[in-house]
């Protein structure tokens, strides 16, 4: 059961680890790391969708009866990877600005400062 769908289980476990990190950590950088793990888990899911057993890379090869992996999910996930990179970059840029304005990247301390205002 577990090893039949090994990659899908890894996807689920990574997804949970990422989500838990986002929710449980108060350090904003660690939150971003959790968010990245969360997104990367989905990449793994899409790549698993496209993989066919004994299939090769989807490029033109000599001869008949060559089995290819499905290229479409791989192409889709390339887009999602770009989106993930952009999100991480924007999140880290925001953290830099937060550090400049608040002097800390700890969520609890930021909340304290916001309440004082």
């Amino acid at each position: 059961m577990f090893f039949d769908h090994f990659n899908y289980w890894i996807f689920v476990i990574l997804l949970m680890i990422g989500l838990y990190t986002v929710m449980s950590r108060s350090n904003l950088i660690k939150k971003m790391i959790g968010l990245s793990i969360f997104q990367i888990a989905v990449f793994l899911f899409y790549i698993s969708l496209g993989k066919i057993e004994d299939g090769t890379a989807p490029i033109l090869l000599e001869g008949d009866g060559v089995i290819y992996s499905n290229p479409l999910p791989h192409v889709l996930i390339l887009t999602a990877i770009v989106v993930g990179v952009a999100t991480t970059a924007l999140g880290l840029a925001l953290i830099v600005r937060i550090k400049e304005s608040f002097g800390t990247i700890d969520e609890d301390e930021i909340l304290l400062q916001e309440e004082d205002k």
Binding site: F38, V42, L49, L76, I98
Partner: protein, 499 residues
């Protein structure tokens, strides 16, 4: 002309999308703003054309790059998407006419090129979500919109540094929501082998009993609910709306959540089909309590806010509850009420936030205590706020009344205790709306102004667009044939397509 018009579906997206990088290299306070306004108006004009065309000739399918669906990406303009596109581009254009002086006050002039670039990207993304007929494209456009809206909200940091943390919080929530949608789309692809929405819908009956499909529906609904700020997932919205620059709050209040409502309708009625959504999957008993909880609890929370922008933000979450309830009623009347309220609330809330923006321009604060006596200091703007507030409550002759009237009728159509309970809940929540609007009006008109403040009205470039939006909302409250007509044709199209 006709050759150009045949490209209209893609042009409506391309114009703001291509304008964004051009705007980003422009410098100075006027050029980027002028460019954004012209391009947004062009998109608006194309949307009007598309809506008229769709209502006379039926839906348009546009094949990108000449690849026929389901292999190529398809843009579909049907009555619902054309109507939502009209709302988005119309609100965006009205807000931009207002933007020039207001934004100079809140964002450094050297950043305006980038600012309006991000604004155009957000506009392009939202238009793209509504028009695309491809499930993966929805995710891509959603991320274009989201990434640019995080940037736009964080731009409010010049007046309040909490804009940065609000943007960060929105980034976390928004990314989780969008990733859930991505997982849902992936599961749908795994079950059907296609990403084209019409194609998925046509294969839906074949796969409707399977477990991955149920997981897909759950992921999609939770993802959209986060983006929509549906009741328990709304925590990002009040902060984001409060600390963003005035025009961005007005823009997002009118468009961003409406696009998510559109997505909810699109998935429930077109992709899943009404039979599956409300028969096999108990959506009514899931969405209805959440919607009722939203408009009851959030109206109460709004009463106790000390910041006017935050008060209106909580009221937005409450109004989104009405739209959810309309969709959850699973009848054509309910759907019409939901779509009409989407239109009416977009225009009313934009008008309200624009008048609050004008007050911020003069008074420098949106805290209600700082706005004491502003009714005497800024009579024209304040009166606009009062009219908008009446529309929010749902006084007759206002658009708010029209949508509540339709919602009550749809609820009574059920003829059971749930329907009657819903009507009573709506009545109570309208009373709460009277309280929170009256509380603001009372402070604005019957409290003395702080010492040393002179009578000073906001500049005309702020007051005129604000009043145009307010008057337009009253026009749509009295002459209802336009908004209700389009909503009815969209709803009957969706119900017909769901067979």
């Amino acid at each position: 002309m006709s050759a150009l018009f045949s490209q209209a579906p893609v042009l409506a997206i391309l114009i703001p999308l291509m304008g964004a990088p051009i705007s980003a290299v422009f410098r100075g306070p006027v050029l980027p703003w002028a460019l954004a306004t012209i391009l947004s108006a062009a998109s608006f004009w194309l949307s009007i054309d598309l809506l008229i065309h769709v209502n006379t000739h039926g839906p348009i399918s546009y094949e990108l790059g000449g690849w026929p669906p389901p292999w190529g990406i398809e843009y579909v303009v049907d009555p619902l998407s054309a109507f939502v596109m009209l709302i988005i581009s119309g609100i965006s254009t009205a807000v931009l006419f207002y933007a020039r002086e207001s934004i100079l006050n809140e964002v450094a002039a050297s950043r305006l090129g980038m600012f309006f670039g991000a604004y155009l990207l957000a506009l392009a993304g939202m238009m793209g979500i509504t028009i695309t007929g491809d499930a993966f494209n929805i995710f891509v456009f959603l991320e274009i919109t989201s990434l640019s809206s995080y940037v736009l909200i964080s731009m409010g940091e010049k007046t309040d540094k909490r804009a940065l943390t609000a943007a960060f919080q929105y980034l976390i929530m928004g990314t989780i929501g969008a990733t859930f949608i991505l997982i849902g789309v992936g599961l749908l692809y795994a079950m059907t082998g296609t990403l084209n929405i019409a194609d998925i819908a046509s294969q839906f009956d074949r796969i409707s009993g399977t477990t991955p499909l149920r997981a897909a529906v759950a992921f999609l609904l939770v993802g959209i609910a986060i983006k929509l700020a549906m009741f328990p997932f709304h925590i990002w919205l009040p902060n984001g709306y409060t600390y963003a620059p005035s025009i961005i709050t007005a823009f997002f209040a009118g468009t961003a959540t409406k696009v998510s409502v559109y997505l909810l309708i699109r998935f429930i009625y077109t992709v899943f089909g009404a039979d599956f959504s409300f028969g096999e999957f108990p959506l009514t008993s899931m969405l209805l309590p959440l919607g009722i909880a939203a408009f009851l609890s959030m109206s109460v929370v709004a009463i106790f806010q000390d910041n006017l922008k935050r008060l209106l933000a909580y009221s937005s979450v409450a109004q989104l509850g009405y739209m959810t309830v309309g969709i959850a009623l699973a009848s054509e009347a309910g759907l019409v009420a939901g779509i009409v309220h989407m239109f009416n609330h977009a225009i009313v809330k934009t008008g309200l936030f624009l008048s609050v923006g004008a007050m911020f321009f003069v008074a420098g604060s949106t805290y209600i205590k700082d706005l004491a006596g502003i009714g005497q200091r800024m009579p024209i703007t304040s009166f606009g706020f009062v009219l908008g507030g009446l529309a929010l409550i749902g006084v007759p002759l206002t658009p708010g009344f029209i949508s509540k009237w339709y919602l009550v009728q749809a609820a009574l159509e059920r003829g059971d205790f749930v329907g009657y309970g819903l009507v009573i809940a709506m009545l109570i929540s309208s009373l709460f709306a009277v309280i929170y609007i009256w509380r603001v009006v009372e402070i604005m008109y019957f409290r003395p102004a702080p010492e040393g403040t002179a009578r000073k009205e906001a500049p005309l470039s702020l007051v005129v667009p604000c009043w145009i939006v307010i008057l337009a909302s009253f026009y749509f409250g009295i002459e209802t044939s336009l908004n209700i007509g389009f909503a009815e044709s969209a709803a009957s199209f969706l119900m017909g397509g769901a067979k």
